[in-house]
Symmetry: C2
Subunit: 230 residues, 2 copies
């Protein structure tokens, strides 16, 4: 393989494993993170640690403000993050959904890719152990890939075809953790919680924490995350 790839990196478990998969496939990795008004901005520090540990060529953190549009508990501190959901993989789309977030992230990734002559984008979406977000589904990714190849000069001038890679799309959380462990991901650097304390401790009770903890338990591995109460 080889070549350059742009990897969306939140600093969480899924995107960090996705970065490891891109690296294993031989890509020179350009990591992209966003400050988007999320209440768990501590994840940016995780993204920086993970990017450094994985030896990316470049890591950019872009500030964009999605909180001004509203509509999500992740960007509105007056809305409560749901806790103690017995199974976050069933039921309605939760209030932690951020309108068009992955679309905006992928659009920036595409802009950067075109500017550096990369045609491979990686995103750690997952539709197995997930919360039902529409922009984590395969049909969303397929539509974005089609769009990318119509939206850009690089594609229509024939310099290449964009490909959106989703290496963990259909894995369970346990499978993701096992693969990442095999690829050398240091999960103590990652961060998953939607509602961490100001000291950066994970709440252990939001959907994201619940999915993470179940995943480590099913994988038979120890979660190195520091939780409020463990």
């Amino acid at each position: 393989m080889g070549g350059k790839a742009v990897i969306l990196l939140s600093g969480g478990l899924d995107s960090s494993t996705t970065l490891a998969a891109a690296k294993e496939q031989g890509f020179s990795c350009y990591a992209l993170s966003f400050r988007y008004g999320q209440r768990h901005a501590v994840e940016i520090a995780s993204a920086q640690r993970v990017a450094a540990a994985m030896g990316v060529v470049e890591h950019r953190v872009i500030s964009i403000d999605l909180s001004q549009f509203g509509g999500s508990a992740l960007t509105n501190p007056t809305l409560a993050v749901p806790k103690d959901n017995p199974d976050p993989t069933v039921g309605e789309i939760p209030i932690t959904y951020v309108p068009a977030r992955n679309l905006i992230f992928l659009s920036y990734a595409l802009a950067w890719a075109e500017a550096i002559n990369a045609f491979d984008l990686f995103i750690g979406v997952n539709c197995s152990d997930y919360s039902g977000y529409p922009d984590c589904r395969p049909e969303f990714i397929e539509a974005f890939e089609t769009l990318a190849n119509r939206a850009t000069a690089a594609a229509i001038e024939g310099r290449g075809q964009f490909r959106i890679h989703t290496p963990i799309l259909r894995m369970t959380k346990a499978e993701i953790i096992r693969m990442g462990t095999r690829l050398g991901v240091d999960y103590s650097l990652t961060h998953s919680c939607y509602d961490p304390t100001t000291e950066g401790l994970a709440c252990g009770r939001c959907d994201s924490c619940i999915l993470r903890r179940k995943g480590f338990a099913q994988a038979g591995l120890v979660d190195p995350m520091r939780y409020v109460e463990t």
Copy 2:
């Protein structure tokens, strides 16, 4: 009709006419503009004047930084804006192309639309008298509409289907100007130049100025734009 619509408004001739078309169709108009590091940031002032004159419900100006990715004369002051092109509608995609720009703009428009429960988006793309930008073509718009209906909770929960309106897509510049004039657009408020003077005078020689001047000439109307030399 009725209902809310989000309109991408650059302050130029095309987007101002598109806003007028949305208004004529009975939509409550929410205008969205971007400071994206463009050298012709004077267009934001035009967008504000146009939005006020047309009586939009709300006008938001979002700051995003596309200049950091590079790759365009519109966001890189060290690259020259091409001048005196005899026919900007033929030939290669020009250096004024900004990677993934319309995709990023539409993604933000979609995020805002979902947050305010709007399902109609308007964008003033045009593939007739245009410079060959890939993200102004009908196949790009169609792919985005498909994507919008897979990317959002509002669509997959059945609250509505997103529609991307392109009222001037196949018009000549002269036809756009005639329609806008009929709908009461005050073109003295608009701005088209890629490379204006610090006083806000249009250069008269970039692709955008050339297309605008030809359009007014063909429409048999007087262009109220103040050019450097007229």
